[in-house]
């Protein structure tokens, strides 16, 4: 696979690791947050955490849309699926996330709700065309990577006059989450240390690298936008180490083969035409953040499931034993959670971080759960 295999080359990876070991100083600590859950999975899947020098630490970030969606919003989707005549179309990831009283969309379906797994918004449109006598609702979640794909579907529905299609919009904004992490009490009081960010690659194909320049300047944190293959990540971490060593805090783009500085302007325009900012939105783990999520523009209310159906948002606290919130804030590692791998596994998840293929808990469970944490292994 071109543009994939080259970035998984073992010999080349060894060279980058050697450079990392040569350049990361032994007398200082480096704490970098990889924002994106896809990066967390690559780090775990390819065993990269074990290859890093002992002074380089990765803090796993909140960039997993399934994980950050609070229970209250999932409950609304479950409510929607139970409306008479409704087909709820959802990404497969959402099916097994436990809502209130541990009810999932999967369970709702078993009890008679019409829930369909789709690959994307395009498939949901197809379901709407094929079922003119049903109301088809697309459960739209995701960061900026996915937002324009929902916008395309909504604009298509408008064009076709497809009145039985609507979207339940839960699109969230990356810069708001970075703001929340850097401005959090935990960061200010020093419980979380982040010296730099591995910036999200696919989000940046849409928004470009410019939105990060503010963080680099205001917070004096280097940010390197990175690809998802193992060599991409190793190179990005090396670039961060170099910036720290040289006292720089700039936005650099390791993934420039896919990310232009200005992003995807066509997609940005479509997002602008389709969505407007919500005044505030609740995130799992990060709390209620101002201007951090999108909803459909008022002029598109006919396609907005929140307008069309009587669903109410009721905030629900996470399960007491679940540490998803702290894990999403970078305060804990999955292995610090009391129920990780015991009461909470991918087969019987207590929290969203164990369900999503981008969740940190799922990554730690899938790859190397028998080996302990990198720190434990180093001292063993």
């Amino acid at each position: 696979m071109k543009y994939v295999d080259e970035f998984r080359d073992g010999a080349l990876a060894k060279q980058v690791v050697a450079a990392l070991h040569a350049e990361a100083r032994a007398d200082r600590e480096y704490h970098f947050m990889e924002f994106c859950g896809g990066h967390t999975h690559s780090l775990c899947r390819y065993g990269l955490l074990e290859l890093l020098p002992p002074t380089v630490h990765m803090v796993h970030g909140p960039g997993c849309p399934v994980c950050v969606l609070p229970i209250g919003r999932l409950d609304q989707a479950i409510q929607l699926s139970r409306q008479p005549g409704v087909i709820l179309c959802t990404f497969g990831d959402m099916m097994r996330v436990p809502g209130k009283d541990r009810v999932t969309l999967m369970r709702a379906r078993a009890l008679g709700a019409n829930v369909k797994m789709v690959f994307g918004s395009g498939d949901a449109l197809k379901v709407a065309r094929e079922n003119p006598d049903k109301q088809v609702v697309f459960f739209a979640i995701g960061f900026e990577t996915t937002t324009p794909t929902t916008a395309v579907a909504v604009q298509q529905a408008v064009k076709e006059g497809l009145r039985n299609f609507s979207v339940f919009v839960n699109h969230v904004l990356t810069p708001s989450a970075i703001d929340a992490i850097l401005g959090s009490k935990d960061a200010v009081e020093g419980r979380i240390r982040v010296d730099g960010f591995v910036g999200p690659g696919h989000v940046s194909t849409i928004i470009g690298t410019r939105p990060y320049e503010r963080f680099a300047q205001e917070h004096e944190k280097p940010i390197v936008v990175s690809g998802f293959e193992p060599i991409d990540l190793l190179q990005s971490i090396l670039m961060l180490v170099r910036q720290r060593n040289q006292g720089r805090h700039e936005v650099e783009n390791q993934f420039d083969r896919a990310v232009p500085r200005e992003g995807n302007v066509k997609a940005q325009r479509l997002i602008e035409q389709t969505f407007e900012l919500r005044p505030s939105f609740e995130w799992r783990g990060l709390g209620t953040l101002p201007s951090s999520a999108l909803k459909l523009r008022a002029s598109l209310a006919q396609w907005d499931a929140e307008v069309k159906f009587p669903i109410e948002y009721v905030p629900v606290a996470d399960h007491k034993a679940c540490s998803c919130g702290e894990i999403l804030r970078g305060l804990k590692k999955p292995t610090d959670c009391a129920i990780f791998g015991t009461a909470c596994t991918p087969d019987s998840p207590m929290g969203s971080c164990m369900v999503s293929p981008e969740g940190s808990c799922a990554a730690y469970w899938l790859y190397g759960r028998h080996r302990g944490t990198p720190e434990q292994r180093r001292t063993a």
Partner: protein
């Protein structure tokens, strides 16, 4: 959710869709977010949509920088 992969365009249709191929798997995707898609282009595909076009020159440069690292030169 933000999972995406680069795939090569094998056919462009005039309804705003294209067929892409990755490791022998072919799929029809939407190119509504990318202008002027041509056969042979590499696109980054996410949930059935192309979200970005891959720049072969930038990819070559990244690999060239890394190859230099191999020889112990700081790029």
């Amino acid at each position: 959710m933000c999972l995406a992969l680069p795939a090569r365009v094998t056919q462009v249709h005039d309804d705003g869709s294209a067929v892409v191929e990755l490791g022998g798997v072919k799929q029809r995707i939407s190119v509504a977010l990318i202008d002027d898609v041509k056969e042979g282009d590499y696109l980054i595909i996410h949930v059935g949509y192309a979200i970005s076009r891959l720049d072969p020159e930038a990819a070559r440069q990244t690999l060239a920088d890394l190859a230099q690292l191999k020889e112990g030169v700081t790029p």
